[in-house]
C-alpha cells in the first residue's frame, strides 16, 4: 500500500469535511425530526418531501442547484461573497454538499428513534412540570440517542463517499477540495495508477468498517446502560 502526500491530504480532508458536515447538520436534523414527529402544522408534507428529496435526486443535480445557490451570482453566494466568505471551490462547499446529501439519512434515523418513544413518557414529563423545551432535552433527546448515533454514523459514512455534488460545487483541486473519492477518480483515469487507486480504496474500506464498528460499540454501550 502506498500513499503520496496528496493522498494523505485527501484522507485528512475527507475526514474533516465529513465530520464538519455531520456536526453542523446534527442540530438541524434533530430539530426537523422533532417538528415532523411531534408538531402538527400546515406544510408538514412539503417539509418531509423537501428533506427526503436529496435521497432520490441524482447528487449531480443537487450539486448543480447548490452551485446556482452558492455561486457568485447566487442567492446566498452573493451575500456570502460580500461579507468575505467565498464558498464555491473551497472545502466549505464540500461540507455543504455532504451535509445536503446526507441530511435525509440523519433525519430518518433520528425520527425513527423519536417515534419509538412512548407518548406517555412525554405526557408524564409535561404533567410533572416540565415545559416543552425541558421535556425535549430531559426526555426526548436522551431517549432518541440511539437514533441520533445511527443517523450520525450513517451521515458521516455517506459524506466520506460523497462525489457527485462535491465535484460540481467544490471542484477537484488537489490539496484544497480533493477528497478520497475525487482522488480515486483522478487515478482511475490513468491506467498506470491502479495501485494508487487501490490503496485509497483500502483506506475507504477501513474508514467505513471503523465507523460501523464504532457505531456498534457505542450503541451496545447505550443499550447496556439502559438495561442496567
Amino acid at each position: 500500500m502506498q500513499l503520496t502526500p496528496e493522498d494523505i491530504n485527501a484522507i485528512v480532508l475527507s475526514m474533516k469535511v465529513a465530520l464538519t458536515a455531520t456536526i453542523i447538520a446534527l442540530p438541524f436534523g434533530f430539530a426537523v425530526a422533532w417538528l415532523i414527529v411531534y408538531k402538527a402544522f400546515r406544510g408538514k408534507v412539503l417539509l418531509e418531501v423537501l428533506v427526503n428529496l436529496p435521497l432520490t435526486l441524482p447528487p449531480v443535480v443537487i450539486g448543480y442547484l447548490l452551485l446556482l445557490l452558492l455561486g457568485r451570482n447566487g442567492f446566498i453566494g452573493k451575500t456570502l461573497q460580500e461579507v468575505g466568505i467565498p464558498v464555491i471551490f473551497t472545502w466549505k462547499a464540500a461540507v455543504v454538499a455532504s451535509a445536503t446529501v446526507g441530511f435525509p439519512l440523519l433525519v430518518r434515523s433520528i425520527r425513527l428513534g423519536m417515534e419509538s418513544i412512548e407518548t406517555g413518557l412525554i405526557d408524564a414529563s409535561r404533567s410533572l412540570g416540565a415545559p416543552w423545551h425541558d421535556t425535549l432535552f430531559s426526555v426526548v433527546l436522551p431517549l432518541s440517542s440511539r437514533g441520533i448515533l445511527a443517523g450520525s454514523s450513517l451521515m458521516f459514512a455517506r459524506s466520506i463517499g460523497e462525489f457527485g455534488a462535491t465535484i460540481i460545487v467544490a471542484g477537484n483541486i488537489p490539496g484544497i477540495t480533493q477528497t478520497i473519492p475525487l482522488a480515486i477518480y483522478d487515478y482511475a483515469s490513468s491506467p498506470s495508477s491502479t495501485a494508487m487507486a487501490l490503496s485509497l480504496c483500502i483506506v475507504s474500506i477501513m474508514i467505513s468498517v471503523t465507523v460501523l464498528l464504532l457505531h456498534d460499540a457505542v450503541a451496545g454501550k447505550i443499550e447496556r446502560e439502559r438495561g442496567r
Binding site: 413518557l121 405526557d123 425541558d134
Partner: protein
C-alpha cells in the same frame, strides 16, 4: 378542593361531554373502556384541548374557550399516575422520583422526598434502574413521582389495572395513605367496581362519553349486583385472627368469623360474594357451613331480577343476594331477624 368541569370534545366517531363539580377528596370515575375516561384525564391535565368549555380548580381558570385561556400542562399542577407507570427508562429510581420535585416551585413544596420515600418504602430501590423494577414497585415509584411534584390534584388513571390481584390490593393502601397523609385530593379512574369501592367515596359513572349518574361506589355495586357475574362483593376487614382447628377465627365488628385462608397478622381485607350467603328464617342448628350469623334485615333492594338483602350483625353490614321466590318464601321484611350461613372457604383474601 373544588374542581368545576364543563367541557365538550368531538372526535370523528366519538364525543365527550362532561359537566360536573367535584368537591370531595376521593372521587372515582367509573366506566367501561371507551367511555372517555382517559380523554378526560388528558383534558384535565392539559395534554389535550376540548373544543368548547371551561375548567377551573379552586376558582383558578385552567381552560376557557370563551375567554381563550389554556394553561399549559406544566403550570396546572395536576399530576397523573398512569396505568403503565411511565417511568423514565433512562433514569434511575431516585431521578424519576425527583423529576417533578426539582421542577416544582419552592413555595409549592409541602411534601419532603424523605417522608414519602419512607411511607412508600422506596429506600432500597433508590439506586435501581427503573427498568428492573417489578410491576408493583414501578407503580409505587410512579406514585411517589406524581406526589412529589406537589400537585393540587392527582389523577390516577387505572393505576392498578396492569397489576395482578395480589399486587393490586397491596398498592391500594399506599394510594390512599399518600392522599390522606399529604392532603392531596384525587380522581381515581377505573373500570373495576371493587377498586372503586375501596378507593372512592363518590363515583361518577361514565358511558359513551357522557355522565350517566353520580352516586356512591356502594350504591353502584348494589345496582350492578344482579347483572354482574360475581354478584355484589362484600369487602370485609378482619382483625385479630387466631388459628382454630385448621381454620382461622377473625374478628369482624362484633362477630367472630371462621375463614380457611390464612389472614396473616394485623388487619386483612377479604371479599365475599353476595351469592355465597345462604339465608334461613330459623336457626338451622346443625349445618356444614362454619359461619352462622344472626342478623337483622336492614334493607331490601332489587337489582336486575334479583333481590339484595342488607343484613346487619354486630354493628357491621353484609349484602346477600337471593331470587324473588326465595324472598317470598322467607317472608323477608325490613327489621326481621334472619340467619346467614357462610362457608369458611367462601371468603377470599385480597390483602
Amino acid at each position: 378542593m373544588k374542581l368545576s368541569i364543563d367541557i365538550e370534545k368531538k372526535f370523528s366517531a366519538f364525543s365527550l361531554q362532561f359537566s360536573t363539580t367535584v368537591e370531595g377528596p376521593r372521587t372515582g370515575i367509573f366506566g367501561p373502556s371507551g367511555s372517555g375516561k382517559s380523554t378526560l384525564v388528558s383534558i384535565l391535565s392539559g395534554l389535550q384541548q376540548p373544543q368548547r368549555g371551561e375548567i377551573s380548580i379552586d376558582g383558578e381558570c385552567l381552560f376557557s374557550s370563551s375567554r381563550n385561556i389554556n394553561i399549559s400542562p406544566e403550570k396546572r399542577r395536576i399530576s397523573i399516575v398512569f396505568q403503565h407507570a411511565m417511568l423514565f427508562p433512562h433514569m434511575n429510581v431516585r431521578s424519576n422520583i425527583l423529576y417533578g420535585y426539582r421542577r416544582s416551585r419552592a413555595a409549592d413544596r409541602r411534601i419532603h422526598p424523605d417522608a414519602l420515600i419512607e411511607l412508600l418504602k422506596l429506600q432500597p430501590l433508590l439506586q435501581r434502574d427503573s427498568l428492573t423494577l417489578s410491576g408493583g414497585e414501578r407503580q409505587r415509584v410512579a406514585l411517589a413521582r406524581a406526589v412529589l411534584a406537589n400537585p393540587r390534584l392527582l389523577l390516577m388513571d387505572e393505576p392498578l389495572s396492569a397489576l395482578d390481584d395480589t399486587l393490586r390490593f397491596q398498592i391500594i393502601p399506599y394510594l390512599k395513605s399518600v392522599s390522606t397523609g399529604f392532603g392531596i385530593p384525587y380522581l381515581f379512574i377505573s373500570h373495576s367496581l371493587v377498586e372503586m369501592q375501596l378507593m372512592a367515596d363518590h363515583a361518577i359513572v361514565m358511558e359513551n362519553g357522557r355522565i350517566r349518574e353520580e352516586t356512591t361506589p356502594d350504591r353502584l355495586a348494589r345496582q350492578k349486583m344482579g347483572a354482574s357475574r360475581y354478584g355484589y362483593q362484600n369487602l370485609m376487614r378482619f382483625s385479630g385472627s387466631e388459628a382454630c382447628s385448621g381454620m382461622y377465627a377473625c374478628r369482624w365488628g362484633g362477630n367472630i368469623i371462621l375463614v380457611s385462608e390464612d389472614p396473616g397478622s394485623g388487619e386483612a381485607l377479604f371479599e365475599l360474594s353476595s351469592r355465597e350467603i345462604i339465608l334461613f328464617r330459623k336457626n338451622p342448628e346443625a349445618i356444614s357451613a362454619r359461619n352462622l350469623l344472626q342478623c337483622t334485615v336492614t334493607e331490601i333492594f332489587r337489582s336486575d331480577g334479583r333481590i339484595g338483602v342488607e343484613l346487619t350483625a354486630g354493628g357491621v353490614t353484609l349484602v346477600a343476594e337471593i331470587v324473588p321466590r326465595a324472598s317470598e318464601e322467607l317472608a323477608l321484611t325490613t327489621g326481621s331477624t334472619i340467619f346467614a350461613a357462610i362457608k369458611a372457604s367462601s371468603f377470599r383474601r385480597l390483602s
